[in-house]
């Protein structure tokens, strides 16, 4: 960690604070949280449901802000992140820290007073996990950073479920496991085509440390438990045929793309088309599988 930002003389624009919350990442977090809540067997009042999702979004935003506060030096070295408010010098680090901590505290307080203790505790765990375990501890130390750190992104459906039911059940753990196992193939597909960026920044992503071959094999290996996890709710009786068939079709496509990436060897000046396709499809996969779960619960 270092002070990478240029001199800041102006107060940051409100849009810089918004950018600090990583709105694009938040979309997936909010969606999976919403699906976890809507898939729960207990209905939640719409106002309370909206509040729970708002808290999940604010908590994710807080974690994103604290991540950017800590990683300003790394972000400055990568093309993808160099325009963020801190490395671009549009905001001072203290403002980012205060904003992140304040937003985290606010989201937890609102979740506790409006929803329940279980959802609050899981939200707190996800923020702390993302900031301390992933950002501060693992990211710069091990190529397994996103495997373990992926747990932080897997909490939202569990929080949504807990907001509706007040507890943690087998199905919510399955949803957690699905995102947890989805994260490595998703991020490693990305890391394969932005390898130079990570290498320049000194982040020990798997392709940088262990090489492309190992990364490709790991993508294939993580895909197998992931699709088993996606399929499990149907035979276990937690979901019906709509979900089961959708998950099977999407998982089949995911597996085919992952195998293609796993067995391939990149050439010099390779456009990395299969890797980019797998990365994009992995996002669609999560949206469709979680969406199918909700449709199955409400319309089957």
């Amino acid at each position: 960690m270092s002070t990478a930002s240029a001199t800041v003389s102006l107060p940051a624009d409100w849009r810089d604070f918004l950018a600090l919350t990583k709105p694009r990442v938040m979309t997936l977090v909010v969606f999976t949280g919403l699906c976890g809540m809507l898939a729960a067997p207990v209905p939640i009042h719409p106002i309370l449901g909206f509040t729970a999702i708002l808290c999940i979004a604010l908590g994710a935003g807080a974690a994103g802000a604290l991540n950017q506060w800590y990683e300003a030096d790394l972000d400055a070295k990568m093309k993808r992140t160099a325009k963020r408010p801190l490395p671009a010098g549009r905001m001072d680090r203290q403002s980012a820290l205060h904003f992140g901590v304040g937003l985290a505290g606010f989201s937890l307080a609102l979740m506790y007073f409006a929803i329940n203790l279980a959802a609050t505790l899981i939200l707190a765990a996800s923020i702390l996990f993302y900031v301390f375990v992933y950002t501060i501890w693992l990211k710069r130390r091990t190529p397994q950073n996103i495997v373990i750190g992926g747990a932080a992104g897997a909490f939202p459906p569990m929080i949504g479920w807990a907001a509706a039911t007040g507890d943690v059940s087998t199905m919510s753990v399955l949803l957690f496991a699905l995102i947890f196992l989805w994260t490595p193939p998703h991020f490693w597909a990305l890391a394969l085509f932005v390898k130079t960026d990570y290498a320049n920044a000194g982040v020990p992503m798997l392709p940088v440390v262990a090489g492309e071959r190992t990364t490709r094999i790991q993508i294939g290996l993580y895909t197998i438990p992931m699709i088993l996890c996606a399929a499990a709710p149907w035979p276990l009786g937690f979901a019906g045929a709509i979900y089961g068939i959708t998950a099977a079709v999407m998982s089949g496509l995911f597996l085919a793309m992952a195998v293609q990436v796993a067995i391939r060897r990149s050439e010099p000046e390779d456009a990395m088309v299969p890797e980019k396709r797998l990365f994009k499809f992995s996002i669609l996969y999560l949206f469709v599988v979680f969406g199918a779960l909700v449709i199955d619960r409400w319309f089957a």
């Binding site: 107060p11 624009d13 106002i47 708002l54």
Partner: protein, 59 residues
């Protein structure tokens, strides 16, 4: 995303008057956003209170 919405700082240094005006304009826009968010928060707390009272009566 929002990163692209923010224009980079101009290379030519602003005069003290221009800079003061820019600071005031930033502060004004932040104050407006904060006021809107606080207003929405008040509405949300009111709505949550009503729902909690209703659920309390129903339970």
């Amino acid at each position: 995303m929002t990163d692209d919405l923010i224009q980079p700082s101009p290379t030519n240094p602003a005069t003290p008057i221009e800079e003061a005006e820019l600071i005031r304009s930033r502060q004004r826009s932040r104050a407006v956003v904060m006021a809107v968010l606080l207003g929405l928060f008040v509405v949300l707390v009111f709505a949550i209170s009503i729902v909690k009272i209703q659920l309390g009566h129903a339970g």
